[in-house]
């Protein structure tokens, strides 16, 4: 796997997002600028300027027309991807840690930080995916997290549920229309914060990463834990790869948190696990600090990681990656191929 190094950020990366076509990569960092890159060659296409604080989060609408960002400057902003123009700013009492568009881009959720006098919330904004349109000032919905603040959140299939991961390690399912809390389960270890939540392509299941050193695959409908991936380091991010049944985990402890050099070695790697069998199958080295964010190309061609070291590394998968199969997977593939051949013979006969 040959990586492309994207140098442009001056501080730690916070989130990376591919657009649905997989040709653009958006990245945010603590350096107050959003970058957009061409995925195939790593060339920087542009930057989006305006935020006055660290930027925690970014998302792109399904048609790659606009992006949304959330920042420590207590705002969510909407940007025209092509021109770089800021189209709208929404103000909040606290920092915005996560934004996500729903499946058709008509709604945006934002996770706001808890602070003295302010509970953490999940807000919903109505969006018009049109760079000429006037965006509404009003919030369509506010969910108050009075038990434990939400750290991450996202929209399920059909925009039916809002799923949130919390600081206390629990996961909640809310009715996306009314904001009612439907379920809350202690999924990760108590008081080990959930650091990431990313969807499968059809948004029927998702993966969470936690400080408890595990990532879990969970159904959106029942919050049933399907799989658990056990690692040896605190996790910051987890993503599901399309095409192949793998998941990629990123994490690592900051240098100041470990005393011995030997303890630090091998911690700054992207870890690949088999999605169904839960085994670790490989690691990719490169970053000089913890991996804060990992993202899978929606077309299945590669992945990108963003580090505490300020770099984005983009990897295109090689033939070995696509060929890799467990015996039982190959067995099934051969059986299906044989069945298909048989059917074709019957048709021609």
């Amino acid at each position: 796997m040959r990586p492309i190094l994207l140098a442009g950020h001056e501080r730690a990366l916070t989130q990376i997002k591919y657009n649905p076509d997989g040709d653009l990569i958006f990245s945010t960092a603590k350096d107050q600028q959003i970058c957009v890159w061409f995925a195939h060659n790593g060339e920087r296409l542009g930057t989006y300027h305006g935020h006055q604080g660290a930027i925690w989060t970014v998302d792109v609408d399904p048609t790659s027309t606009i992006i949304a960002s959330g920042s420590a400057d207590n705002t969510i902003r909407l940007w025209d991807i092509k021109t770089g123009k800021c189209l709208k700013t929404w103000d909040f009492p606290t920092a915005v840690k996560r934004v996500e568009f729903n499946e058709d881009g008509t709604k945006l959720l934002g996770v706001t930080e808890k602070r003295m006098g302010h509970l953490g919330t999940i807000v919903v904004l109505d969006i018009k995916v049109d760079v000429e349109a006037e965006q509404s000032d009003e919030k369509a919905l506010t969910i108050v997290c009075d038990e434990s603040k939400a750290t991450v959140a996202g929209w399920s299939y059909c925009s039916k549920y809002i799923i949130a991961g919390h600081e206390d390690g629990s996961v909640s399912q809310y009715d996306a229309k009314t904001g009612d809390l439907l379920m809350n389960f202690p999924i990760h270890e108590l008081n080990m914060a959930i650091t990431d939540l990313q969807w499968s392509q059809d948004r029927t299941y998702f993966i969470t990463a936690s400080k408890d050193k595990t990532a879990k695959l969970i159904t959106a409908k029942d919050l049933e834990v399907l799989k658990t991936y056990v690692s040896d380091t605190s996790l910051n991010s987890a993503t599901i790869t399309p095409k192949k049944d793998f998941v990629i985990l990123g994490g690592g402890q900051a240098a100041m948190d470990v005393t011995r050099t030997s303890a630090r070695q091998g911690k700054f790697e992207a870890r690949f696990y088999h999605k169904i069998f839960e085994d670790e199958i490989g690691r990719v080295r490169g970053h000089f600090g913890p991996l804060n964010t990992v993202a899978a190309d929606p077309t299945g061609k590669g992945y990108a990681s963003g580090g505490e070291d300020g770099y984005v590394r983009v990897h295109q998968f090689d033939k070995g990656y696509f060929d890799f199969m467990y015996e039982v997977e190959r067995e099934r593939q051969n059986r299906l191929a044989a069945q298909q051949q048989q059917q074709q013979q019957q048709i021609t006969a």
Partner: protein, 70 residues
């Protein structure tokens, strides 16, 4: 005897993986069916992103087909 024991352990691992794969595929098939039904009832396209991208392409190049003929 050792070889036999290792062999039977390998068989057990493979059997377990076969079971996990079957279980996963069965869950996916059931979930996909349920999702398709739900989307149809709600009048939502089966693939929302593909639908939106097609609509955008059509809007940007309404005479796209003619251009291809040239």
């Amino acid at each position: 005897e050792d070889a036999e024991r290792i062999n039977s352990a390998d068989v057990a691992v493979v059997e377990e993986r076969r079971r996990l794969l079957e279980e996963w595929l069965a869950w996916r098939a059931a979930m996909e069916e349920e999702l398709a039904e739900e989307r149809e009832i709600l009048g939502l396209p089966s693939d929302p992103v593909a639908e939106l991208l097609n609509a955008k392409t059509a809007q940007l190049a309404p005479d796209g087909e003619e251009k291809i003929i040239e």
